[in-house]
Symmetry: C2
Subunit: 432 residues, 2 copies
């Protein structure tokens, strides 16, 4: 992106779709993003903004004048509009609000009134509503006057004069019904609606379960507020799935791959600090057996094997339970069955790897008793890992702590301590 | 689910939607699944089958007669039909095929001709096609004769007399256009099409990028074969996102949370075996310093801290890079920038935690030199972790090995060995 290339890049950007430009911005380091942004045709900028994640979007908006931000934001869908406004510092937000026209100011206040991660924050108000007592023919003529429909419209919503949601009629039904029929005769009334306060993960699982393309959002009195479309839900599904993976590795799930190093260091150091604490705890447990280690240096060499195996086995169980809880398969009701299963797996895997490690150690170190000690510790720790892998996420969830975030560090602490105690403790008892 | 409850459960099941029954089956242990399945009304069974994952579905199908399987399968969408057929052992498949009628046999052969995880295996053939030279009015009358449209239909496809795809016309356009216009005047021709051989992850990222609800699938000659709908793509998106998380924990991403313990033990033991090998490798590296450990038991106690911190820091980088590669943000082109960034993070985090651990060890063990040794080892290992976290997934990808599956075990091996060498090696050099 250096000298002379600008014209070339600008031409390339002109031929690209907004979503492809967004991908390019996501794949570029911060400095390149600023340069690319300035080369983007201003007509397409608001479309590109819509496709950017918060982490990439906010630094770009920070460098624009409030008037330009207001102008770009005004063209956005309600839910993206809310996202953009939420990403701004208070002072900037006030300036941007001032430079908006009246109508957009009202809209900004409305979309900001729903908390993040609720159905209300995910919805758009671009619904087409019809009354039950008109004929299909009238609606067809009305649509022809409109000339275009909002994106992802598969249903028109039927409301009474107070905007109470009473049913929905699909475009397919409008196209296939006799035109003289009334809307009330062709509408579906066995609908499911989404309350504006529902958590967006729950919205996503409803969409997945019922294969919806769009769904109506209502307030606590049954008044239609707007609709949620599948394209926004797809983002929630991906984010939720990524959240578990990122959290389990101790990453902030909003971390931008190309964020500046200092910013990333700060975010990641928290987890490293927590891990250093647990590693010191494990070292402290080992230090209780210092005189044993002093007498038998071979124990020091083997001391990492049992905790390591416990950590891996426990992570397998933990990951499966966290995934199961996220998709709604694991609940309190079947947790006892699951505990029994994971206990059994811990026992079977304990059996396999105990025998193997006993053999390896007995041959390597020419000490059958040492082999027996490490085998016993392995068995204990794999069983403990299975139990901990089931119980830790269930307990965390009951305490309303995110199991994906805190689960793995607690689990490793348990498997480290059990592993060290079982190995060095048994060794102290039997070998010294 | 014991005695006397059957009637109650049957009544409950009757009032539930197919997708809710599927959720119940997924949340139940294998034995309960068999019981619940027998209580499900046979009219709704094929709808439920469609919603089940392979792991839950296959044991159920195994217990049904070939005739019943053929009957249930015949009602499925093409892509689910293919999934069901693929899940059957060859002998059963042949029996089922025999008990199908001619038309379904032809269909079975066609859907089976596309490899799993391609666009062809994901598509349905329930498209509505129209010719360009007819008027909107004619199409509207044609649709009214059909009385219903396939699910998730947002576009009709325009083809010539050889079924070559030449454009698409949205239901919205049909509803809002002047009825005297020709299809060729209202159709969109700047379409993107999906070749039948495209990988389903790529299909998913196109749907995400362009907010599609359905998209046409064509063969290598441009002939329209069918269409892919967003509900099937959502499953691909979730599976892809889960794949990374499950693989990184050493789990088969098809593992059913409620699979029998023996089956799960077998699947998980592979990873534990690999881990045991690397743990033994680390133990072997430690054993190179056995005489050092013999002289200074305190080293044995602290020997786990540096590898543990390296493992966590490396996993953070690895997870971020794997996610970035999956969504297409990380490529060869920006990998050098990324390596520089992760090197910097390793250095900064190394600085923070080196100073801290040096202080803790110096005070705890009353040995400033020991503190300096562990600080140096920590610095080395965190830098190595950052480099390994970027390079390992990139190299694996170039070798066409799944980075999510093999990445974490290779990374831990690197951080274990570097950590042990840096700590015990420096200690041997400076303290003995």
């Amino acid at each position: 992106l250096n000298s002379g290339m600008f014209v070339h890049v600008r031409n390339m950007l002109e031929s690209m779709a907004a979503s492809d430009i967004a991908l390019l911005l996501h794949s570029s380091p911060p400095k390149a993003r600023t340069v690319i942004w300035q080369l983007i045709d201003s007509n397409i900028q608001s479309e590109v903004i819509e496709e950017l994640s918060d982490e990439v979007r906010n630094p770009i908006l920070k460098n624009m004048s409030p008037e330009k931000v207001a102008e770009a934001a005004a063209n956005l869908d309600d839910d993206d509009f809310a996202d953009v406004l939420r990403g701004m510092p208070d002072a900037v937000f006030k300036k941007v609000l001032k430079s908006m026209d009246k109508q957009d100011q009202v809209r900004a206040k409305r979309v900001m009134s729903y908390e993040e991660e609720t159905a209300g924050a995910l919805m758009n108000t671009d619904t087409i509503t019809v009354r039950p007592n008109v004929s299909v023919d009238v609606i067809l003529r009305y649509l022809r006057l409109k000339e275009s429909l909002p994106e992802a419209t598969d249903y028109l919503y039927v409301v009474d004069k107070n905007d109470t949601f009473i049913g929905e009629v699909s475009l397919a039904a409008l196209l296939t019904s006799t035109t003289s029929k009334l809307i009330s005769e062709v509408m579906e009334t066995d609908f499911e609606v989404i309350p504006a306060t529902m958590h967006d993960s729950e919205v996503a699982s409803l969409f997945e379960r019922y294969n919806w393309i769009s769904a109506p959002v209502i307030d606590e009195n049954g008044i239609l507020l707007g609709r949620i479309t599948i394209d926004d839900v797809v983002d929630v599904i991906r984010e939720d799935a990524e959240h578990s993976m990122m959290s389990m590795a101790g990453l902030d799930d909003e971390e931008d791959t190309f964020a500046p190093a200092i910013k990333s260091t700060r975010k990641r150091s928290v987890w490293l600090g927590v891990n250093l604490f647990t590693a010191l705890l494990a070292a402290f447990v080992s230090s209780l057996f210092e005189s044993t280690l002093d007498q038998l240096a071979v124990l020091a060499i083997l001391n990492t094997i049992v905790p390591s195996m416990g950590g891996v086995a426990g992570s397998q169980t933990l990951t499966l339970v966290i995934r199961g809880m996220a998709v709604g398969h694991v609940t309190q009701a079947n947790s006892r069955w699951l505990l029994g299963k994971e206990l059994a797996i811990g026992f079977f895997n304990g059996l396999i790897w105990s025998v193997l490690i006993a053999g390896v150690v007995a041959i390597w170190k020419q000490d059958v008793m040492l082999g027996a000690v490490i085998a016993f510790a392995m068995m204990m720790n794999l069983i403990a890992a299975g139990v901990a892998g089931v119980l830790i996420p269930l307990m965390l969830k009951r305490m309303k702590i995110d199991p994906a975030l805190a689960g793995s560090v607690i689990l490793t602490t348990v498997t480290d301590i059990v592993g060290i105690f079982a190995f060095l403790g048994t060794a102290t008892w039997l070998l010294i």
